[in-house]
């Protein structure tokens, strides 16, 4: 399809911006060293912390790095965790 925006040079990301965003994400993984294992470590710790407050579905849990599109056409990198809750523990009256 004819892309009007592209024709006028708008809406098309500059290739250097794409390079930069791709590099940033790949370096997050590189710097974390063996990234799947690193993510597993984070996952285990998150389970530990949350488990003292609520019962969670460990099998259904998903934690990953992802790129979140921003309003200005750039991306930011985020650690996204999806943690299904089975039951909230009754810790008695709130101390807060």
């Amino acid at each position: 399809m004819f892309d009007l925006f592209k024709f006028f040079g708008k809406g098309e990301s500059k290739s250097k911006d794409i390079a930069k965003e791709r590099l940033k994400l790949v370096l997050i993984h590189d710097r974390a060293n063996i990234s799947p294992r690193y993510l597993d470590m984070i996952k285990d710790d998150v389970i530990k912390v949350i488990s003292s407050y609520m019962e969670i579905d460990e099998k259904g849990m998903d934690i990953r790095l992802s790129r979140i599109p921003q309003k200005d056409d750039t991306y930011s990198t985020a650690l996204v965790a999806n943690i299904p809750i089975k039951k909230v523990k009754n810790l008695g009256p709130n101390k807060g």
């Binding site: 390079a19 590099l23 940033k24 790949v26 370096l27 710097r31």
Partner: protein
């Protein structure tokens, strides 16, 4: 007591050897006593870039194995006062030298020279470990492309893991025309990603190829923009505060007109 600087990059082909030859020559031209050490054993190239390939008798491995004395293996560059080359061995492999031996060699060279520049092989294996073993600081060379920047990041991490905390970046072969179009990462983009200090920026310059063809470092060419960039890097290494040069000043008249028309065409 001099200092040992390793010129490294991770990725091959980004210009480590050319950078070593040019910074070394520029330092020597400024009156410093300089030795260039080719640590790329088995793939020696610094000799041919410097135009000294016909003068090799002994090499780095001969020195380490005590076949000859250090002084016998050093090739004096007759064109530049106080510039020497210690060539790599071509017929041995990287395991012919150990990090311990390289460290001792660097200690010895530091006694005699103001600057010991080590041309590191590509990769992160034994050759890299040898090359950085005796280094006080590092110059990490990259080009503004994803593969080279990624490898530079890895190298910066490995250098700091080996207690070389002073790593500075040289951005090589920057193309101003592409940066202007938004098709090449600029200086700030690259520094933002790698998070280390800048030692210098060398513009892409065909005169570097021409001078290397002749075996003469580009710093001796007054018309070379890259040569000027290398001279600036040398002065920064000597402790002077030299700003990054404006690479647009030398844009030709024709190129300016062309750019003017191109810009207008886009707007229309």
């Amino acid at each position: 007591m001099g200092e040992v600087i390793v010129i490294t990059s991770g990725k091959g082909g980004v210009g480590k050897t050319t950078t070593t030859a040019n910074i070394g020559t520029a330092l020597a031209l400024a009156g410093k006593r300089v030795v260039l050490v080719d640590a790329d054993i088995g793939l020696r190239n610094l000799d041919v870039v410097m135009g000294l390939e016909n003068r090799i008798v002994y090499d780095l491995v001969d020195v380490v194995e005590k076949v000859c004395r250090l002084k016998q293996a050093l090739i004096r560059d007759k064109r530049f006062e106080s510039l020497y080359l210690l060539p790599a061995a071509q017929t041995k492999d990287k395991n012919a030298v150990s990090p311990q031996q390289m460290q001792e060699l660097c200690e010895q060279l530091k006694e005699e020279f103001d600057f010991v520049l080590i041309d590191c092989p590509a990769g992160i294996e034994q050759g890299f470990k040898n090359a950085i073993a005796g280094a006080d600081k590092a110059a990490v060379v990259t080009v503004p492309e994803v593969s080279a920047v990624r490898d530079a990041d890895r190298i910066i991490g490995l250098l700091s893991a080996n207690d070389i905390d002073e790593s500075k970046l040289i951005i090589n072969r920057l193309r101003i025309d592409m940066v202007k179009r938004g098709d090449m990462m600029d200086i700030d983009d690259t520094l933002d990603i790698l998070g280390i200090d800048l030692l210098g920026v060398v513009p892409d310059d065909e005169r570097v190829v021409i001078s290397t063809n002749r075996g003469e470092p580009a710093v001796t060419d007054d018309n070379s923009l890259a040569g000027q960039a290398y001279r600036n890097i040398a002065r920064r290494l000597m402790g002077e505060n030299i700003p990054i040069m404006d690479m647009e000043t030398d844009e030709g008249f024709l190129a300016k007109i062309k750019r003017f028309f191109n810009a207008n065409r886009k707007r229309a």
